[in-house]
Symmetry: C2
């Protein structure tokens, strides 16, 4: 018997029926995936925005190639290991939207920059920029964008004036080039993003600093990207698979959900309780504002009320289908719509794709299991 | 540059200082680990209970060997892939506390049973037992324990009468042997477990069915295992690393925490906000009843209020150390006590161990990334 992580582990072959897969396993609908890629790219093209898909959602080179072929200008990574893995796969335009700190990682960034045609990172502090400046002096210059907090409440400078100060620091460093402005806004924050960008661009222009890229982000605001006319680029990850949170937000319909987690009913201890084999090590505990851990297709009213690591407890007491006192039996397969697909991907070595109920391919994920 | 998952990725060598590790990375204190193993085993031995550690917490063969050497009778796995990986590593007494269903997995279970001296699984339904009976007919017999719901509200038969019916079904199957009773109770449920076991044992005795093993479980009730005198065995996983939830439950002290997640402060956007590089892909979103995502050592009052995938947002507004308006700076390392260690392990390919601030070893995790 091969170890589960090994190359010769019996991953399903093309043509395998979905109902013959061992569960729990996320599966990706090829047609929905392709449609999600095409629809987002068309929208961006229509509005004159460059599109830079975030690969954290899928971590699969073949999928990123589909995104590039559709018209994306490059890819967005969230950590150095992702960028390294995708550089290995031949991607030549990579933005790492992260403050890279620490000598070991900075040296790897220098090495990465030598083999990627267009590499950029973000920074939101003098400390981050000083670290970059120290290792890139005398090297092939690195593009650095200033991250702006436009209401997202995570990283980013708090004002256009601070953005200018950091842009000046970047410009003054011999190994760095000021690439522009980056933000990951709060949902619905278009007006605030536009104001922040306009004010920052005015200050930069006044200081004689070109600001070629203004990159805005987020799947929740994907279809509102055109409401930020000062942006040149939009980044998004989740849109490619979509998930329950995207449906709730009205950003997609159930017919656009490309990922489902196949699970088996492993227990029916009571009339009102079913237990599935998709626990927190398959769905994650991400709630994203929900009070339950995913939605089971075809069982309206059923609620996944608790997860342990390899079990999901389902409350069927309010389930209105298929009839009173019934519900799925032990051994039945169900399809779960996860709350958040980006974190589900991160739990699996491979992703299984399908069309018309049959496996089409199995793709290996990169840069998961190693956070460095 | 080697791919992050590959064997030649630059994992830290023995002797590396913890402060030189790239973050985010969970690290295990060797001395606390050894003390946790020894203390739990001593307690079980003192109370005449067999101890069966649950390897889902660490998924590392070398650690399970330490547990066996300390006196454990065997190991507990939660899924078939874990059992397969640990059989590969030479473990010969394995209990899989799960309903194994589906032809593909059942065939693997037959194969596994041939090479493991003492393999057992659990079942809580006639469907599960029928599946086992079908594939084990004519094979080396498999030991099957009946899972009992003693208040945990997950899997398990609801009454001793149901336990008897399933024990009879197991006994009647030529390829199966009734191994006994298993429960994973609600915390504080000792009295209810004892009653359920006593009543079930009486019914089984009346029916002439021996019940050699009565296995109780859980780290939350580890030190109350002796309150279930009818149990012959206890299972526990989390005790080996402990975590914030175990401290809150009073089951261990801060000095027993063997796992910390090392993280770097990557941003200080405001006086009250710090951002760490340990997001939901390092800590998971498991709350276990907390309202924040982990505790930062040395920063009382600091709260990890939000996680995104690669960021943890820390609210410092109520932080009482080290002084007003301060807190850690960009680039500083912090140590986070995770809410739940078992799910953190599952996110990493390797685990780094240390003593006196220096790396002692790096161990590979088994059966993660593949849920099958």
């Amino acid at each position: 018997m091969s170890a589960p992580g090994s190359e010769d582990f019996p991953w399903p072959k093309a043509g395998t029926r979905l109902e013959d897969l061992a569960t729990p396993i996320p599966v990706i609908d090829e047609d929905r995936l392709a449609a999600n890629i095409a629809r987002a790219q068309s929208y961006m093209t229509e509005h004159g925005l460059n599109f830079r898909p975030h690969i954290k959602t899928h971590k699969i080179a073949a999928i990123a190639h589909q995104q590039i072929e559709a018209g994306a200008v490059g890819i967005n990574c969230q950590k150095l290991t992702e960028a390294e893995a995708f550089a290995d796969a031949g991607f030549d335009d990579i933005l790492i939207t992260y403050n890279i700190l620490g000598v070991a990682r900075l040296m790897r960034l220098v090495s990465l920059n030598k083999r990627v045609a267009r590499l950029a990172v973000t920074a939101d502090s003098a400390v981050t920029i000083a670290g970059l400046a120290a290792v890139f002096a005398g090297q092939k210059p690195l593009s650095v964008l200033v991250e702006c907090d436009t209401g997202g409440g995570r990283c980013g400078v708090q004002s256009p004036a601070e953005a200018l100060v950091l842009a000046q620091q970047i410009t003054a460093a011999s190994g760095l080039r000021f690439g522009g402005l980056m933000t990951y806004p709060a949902p619905g924050g278009a007006a605030r993003v536009e104001t922040f960008l306009q004010e920052s661009m005015a200050l930069l222009a006044e200081a004689g600093i070109p600001c070629p890229i203004r990159t805005n982000g987020g799947s929740p605001d994907l279809w509102k990207a055109h409401l930020v006319p000062s942006a040149t680029e939009h980044r998004a990850g989740t849109y490619i698979y979509n998930d329950r949170s995207m449906v709730r937000a009205g950003e997609c319909g159930p017919e656009d959900l490309a990922m489902h987690v196949l699970a088996t009913v492993v227990s029916r201890p009571t009339a009102d309780r079913a237990v599935l084999d998709c626990g927190s090590k398959a769905l994650t505990s991400d709630l994203l504002g929900f009070t339950d851990f995913g939605e089971i297709e075809g069982l309206p009213g059923a609620r996944i009320t608790a997860l342990s690591e390899e079990h999901a407890v389902v409350d069927l007491s309010a389930c209105t289908a298929p009839g009173p006192g019934v519900g799925p039996g032990v051994g039945d397969l169900v399809r779960v719509v996860p709350n958040h697909t980006c974190v589900v991907s991160n739990l699996f070595d491979r992703m299984v794709f399908h069309r018309a109920g049959r496996v089409t391919r199995v793709e290996k994920l990169a840069a998961r299991g190693t956070v460095w």
